[in-house]
């Protein structure tokens, strides 16, 4: 049916699954610290340069940002269903939901690329030709490009691993229902979603009222 589930150094599948979840959460804790400290730095500059940061915040595309948020929320739904399907050993549904998850992820990246192109056209890249004059406005967009860029890299890594997982399940070389692999992949994917859940109000909802 599928590859070997239990592997060294574990003698017990339950313990192996626990170790997988534990290890992944240790990694996710470091990710929380990474993005959390970037958001913290953003909030410090938001206090130091309120007018500039708010003026810049109005220039992001709230429509594309909202669409992207909805896409990632949907992808978390499909990833959770994939995990559930795998637990019930339903191979077809697992592959379908993983494919939908990857599809949503790719959709996010496509929208992001269009948004980046729009931002470049509007000269919202920090540097000598920056469009806005207020001090602090360039700071906002410095954070915008770095944070959304690194988030997009995380998402791309997730998409690649999801596609690889689909391939491995189809080949039959992954004991998808019994190892901790798919739950751990789900945890990573949901964290990428959670990071965006916080980036969205930070970068798109400021200064609109």
């Amino acid at each position: 049916m599928s590859g070997q589930a239990l592997h060294e150094p574990f003698e017990d599948l339950e313990r192996q699954r626990l170790a997988a979840a534990f290890g992944m959460w240790i990694f996710l804790a470091t990710e929380i610290l990474f993005f959390g400290s970037a958001i913290l730095a953003f909030s410090v500059y938001r206090q130091l340069h309120p007018e500039g940061m708010l003026a810049a915040a109005r220039e992001t595309d709230i429509v594309l940002g909202s669409v992207n948020t909805a896409i990632l929320l949907a992808s978390s739904v499909t990833m959770a269903v994939a995990d559930k399907a795998a637990e019930r050993m339903r191979k077809r549904e697992t592959i379908l939901c993983l494919a939908l998850t990857a599809g949503f992820g790719l959709g996010f990246l496509v929208v992001k690329l269009f948004e980046y192109r729009e931002d470049i056209t509007q000269r919202l890249v920090p540097g000598p030709h920056f469009a806005l004059g207020e001090p602090g406005a360039q700071l906002f967009f410095g954070f915008y490009w770095v944070m959304t860029g690194i988030h997009a890299i995380h998402l791309t890594i997730g998409i690649v691993i999801v596609l690889l997982t689909i391939w491995r399940i189809r080949r039959g070389s992954l004991a998808y229902g019994r190892t901790g692999f798919l739950p751990s992949l789900g945890l990573y994917w949901h964290l990428v979603d959670v990071v965006w859940i916080f980036l969205f109000p930070l970068l798109y909802l400021g200064g609109r009222a």
Partner: protein
């Protein structure tokens, strides 16, 4: 039987998806309502609610063993420590340091903050 299993597969996910989309719609709508300082509270509060739902349900923290929850809590704990140290730093910087922190800050010979 197979159909029942199918609906059971999607039910929780779709319910969660509906809740998350509703919160998304709410946060977008509130962003356009002038609430002053409450705008920030509203948008980050709703973000916290969405993240909490994803963490408790999709990431299964609601029914994980204590060890796994501890690892998750550790991330939040150390981030909170970082935030505490940062937010008790900048507001209490003295005038002599303020020129480096904020360009329009007080001159170096201004009286010290928080002292009589």
């Amino acid at each position: 039987m197979s159909a029942a299993r199918e609906s059971g597969l999607w039910r929780q996910g779709l319910l969660m998806g509906a809740a998350l989309m509703a919160l998304l719609a709410l946060t977008i709508a509130l962003a356009f309502v002038p609430l002053g300082r409450l705008n920030g509270v509203a948008s980050y509060g709703i973000a916290l609610a969405k993240a909490g739902l994803v963490a408790l349900v999709f990431m299964k923290l609601g029914r994980s063993p204590a060890l796994v929850r501890l690892a998750a809590f550790a991330g939040i704990f150390w981030l909170a420590a970082l935030c505490l140290l940062t937010f008790t730093d900048y507001p209490f910087r003295q005038p002599i340091e303020q020129r480096q922190t904020r360009p329009g800050g007080q001159p170096a010979d201004a009286p010290l903050l928080l002292r009589k």
